[in-house]
Symmetry: C2
């Protein structure tokens, strides 16, 4: 994409109303725009990052047999009464609204209730199970705090997966499979080396649930990490369990962290409330055993910014960068330089390389500052040397390493 | 996808609470599920159709220079006060809600206001224009009527495109370009031969706006069609203009129709309210000239069902069908047949053909009835003949034409 045709502008100054690093950098880069406290819109660069994260998560969900659905945000009171999650005293993050024709509705903060009811139409016998459903859907949560940029917002996209199994064993095998899948996802988006499986409270069906916590100063959560096993317990669990759940070591280190994912065994809580039963092989009706598994793609995006940036801007991992290569023409009004840059842009694009091409009428300094802020992994500079000596300067955004390459070498990157 | 692994089930009986053909067939086929009146969820088959429609629209939006964004659903009162569209007496389809920390919010029924405000950050001079932004975003409309299935819902995905131009001429050229683009889109999704450009009221900036209306008995709108020019005027315009806007003929035919798209010239209504100004080439501040252009992908899907089905079920156009080929194994428990069908399924899939494979333990009659209901364009039957004579029966869902082909011929389809 030609940067002259990307309508967004970067900002020099840090937005005065943002305290979090992720929002400061993402707003300055034109990735997101603040609509109000805790509510952000995604601009083209930000949506490209978000879409890449979604793509990675979707592939992994499909690979474990997930079937994608898209449920509604509007929710009717009756189904949430069944599980006693309608009253504001029970769930204090509802946004509620009213139908003109009469009646109160809620905006979904999660989807166990509607999905369990929906499955009653489709599950009859053991042959219909197991079933794994997921969606990318906007959740609404009436949060009181909203200072962490896109780490905690009142409206956000969430990938939620739900499992429906016949037996505890079948459920546990899938639960473990999701654990591994989540590890792959966090590795793929560039958070692998600081994201830890974290033991959390389990509710009535199982002793523990699990969170995936990414270590960062920006995190609102506290985890207690066993640096040997790379497993943590959350702040709630530490009161009962003061040692590493794996090796028993008591040398746990306190860290700030962001919960980037969580997995829960729901047992039969929802299936019993909705009478979601199946006929087992012996002809007996049994409640379905459920699990739920969440990842917030925008929170992942914000967490990457918190953990991968420097004083000049963002450093995107290649897998989720808005573009893979930032081509910058720095010839001023020299037409030979811009023609050479145009040519390279066309060649790279036709090879399928995702190029952001800074063809703007701006100073080299301004372009370099913007490139650092935007954080595309590779910066390729087309200047006088490109025309005169056929050499392009290449800079790796992460390492800062500079090299020079001819076009033929560039095409092999 | 193996049908045994698709968790949804078809229904024999027509849902008692649906009056529209689209909802009856889509619910029976397991494409959608009703959450409440006017609110539907999308199940895997339905989401596949919806995603294909979105894909077609997205490609066309990109081809005319559209930049994709994703704005928030939650809206703050202040910006809608600026255009006098906050009060329920002015706009009677708002869903409103409250922040726990205090303050009233709305759920966006359209996005002119937040987008115009957002563009103030990015538009300064004539060099920043024109700009074309679009999104696929959920809109909320507090409708009183909700009997038309997914043709009119209280929550629905919408593609909305907004244009920002310097001059009336630039705006009009883009407006005409969108007209042509919309024609291509409706043709691509299979509605081309019964979708008409329809003249509608224009507001203060231009005499007309335009709708794209698809002729169908199910339509809630009435259009007056010139059968010579294939141009229509809507029910509002007919009072002033009793002739065809193109040829002047008064022989207009009254038809029921669904509005599948609309395009509006917004003029400077929003840019003046928000002081969205640009510095023109002469150094003078001018308000930006805007347009908005909508298509509802789910409404398009519902309209296709209304116009392309028979007494046995849906007939999807190939471009938006959930799968291109429905492979049906009808050997009962004959293992030779199921092995042969398995083999063909694998070969077709590895060739990139999107196959729904009915490998279920069910009768041939049940499978055929389901195939007709689901409406995948080509049905391929693997039975005893496939094993004994190497022939597969192929049936075209639309024409009903049956032919027999060997595997080598099938692979060329």
């Amino acid at each position: 994409m030609r940067q002259s045709e990307l309508f967004t502008k970067t900002r020099r100054e840090t937005p005065a109303d943002e305290v979090s690093k992720n929002a400061k950098l993402l707003v300055r880069g034109g990735f997101i725009a603040k609509e109000m406290a805790g509510v952000y819109s995604f601009l083209p660069l930000g949506l490209r990052v978000l879409s890449k994260i979604i793509g990675i998560v979707r592939r992994e969900m499909d690979s474990i047999g997930g079937r994608e659905v898209f449920l509604s945000a509007l929710q009717e009171k009756e189904i949430w009464k069944k599980t006693d999650r309608w009253d504001d005293e029970k769930v204090d993050i509802w946004f509620k609204t009213k139908l003109r024709i009469g009646g109160e509705l809620g905006l979904a903060f999660t989807h166990e209730e509607p999905l369990t009811r929906l499955m009653k139409e489709h599950i009859r016998s053991f042959r219909d199970l197991p079933a794994f459903l997921y969606q990318f859907q906007t959740k609404f949560r009436n949060e009181t705090r909203a200072k962490s940029g896109i780490l905690r917002t009142r409206e956000f996209l969430m990938k939620d997966l739900y499992s429906f199994c016949r037996t505890k064993e079948e459920h546990e095998a899938f639960y473990d499979r999701v654990k591994e899948t989540y590890r792959r996802i966090f590795k793929a988006v560039g958070l692998g080396d600081r994201t830890y499986l974290t033991f959390a409270s389990g509710g009535s069906f199982s002793k523990y649930s699990h969170e995936f916590q990414t270590e960062t100063e920006a995190g609102e959560d506290v985890i207690h990490l066993c640096e040997k096993c790379l497993i943590a317990v959350n702040d709630e669990i530490i009161k009962e369990q003061k040692v590493c759940p794996n090796c028993g070591s008591a040398a746990l280190v306190k860290k700030n962290a962001v919960e980037v994912g969580n997995i829960f065994s729901l047992g039969t809580r929802f299936s019993e409330a909705f009478a979601l039963l199946f006929l087992d092989e012996g002809g007996k009706r049994q409640p379905v055993i459920m699990g739920s598994y969440g990842i917030g793609p925008a929170r992942v995006m914000g967490t990457v910014v918190e953990t991968s940036s420097d004083e000049r801007g963002i450093i995107w991992p290649a897998s989720i960068a808005p573009f893979s290569l930032h081509l910058i023409s720095v010839g001023g009004r020299d037409k030979n330089v811009s023609a050479r840059a145009d040519e390279l842009y066309k060649k790279l694009s036709s090879k399928g390389v995702e190029v952001l091409y800074d063809d703007r009428d701006a100073s080299a300094g301004e372009k370099f500052a913007d490139a650092d802020l935007l954080g595309i992994p590779l910066r390729v500079v087309a200047g006088k040397e490109a025309v005169e000596k056929g050499r392009f300067e290449i800079k790796d955004r992460k390492s800062g390493k500079v090299s020079f390459k001819a076009e033929t070498e560039l095409m092999k990157l």
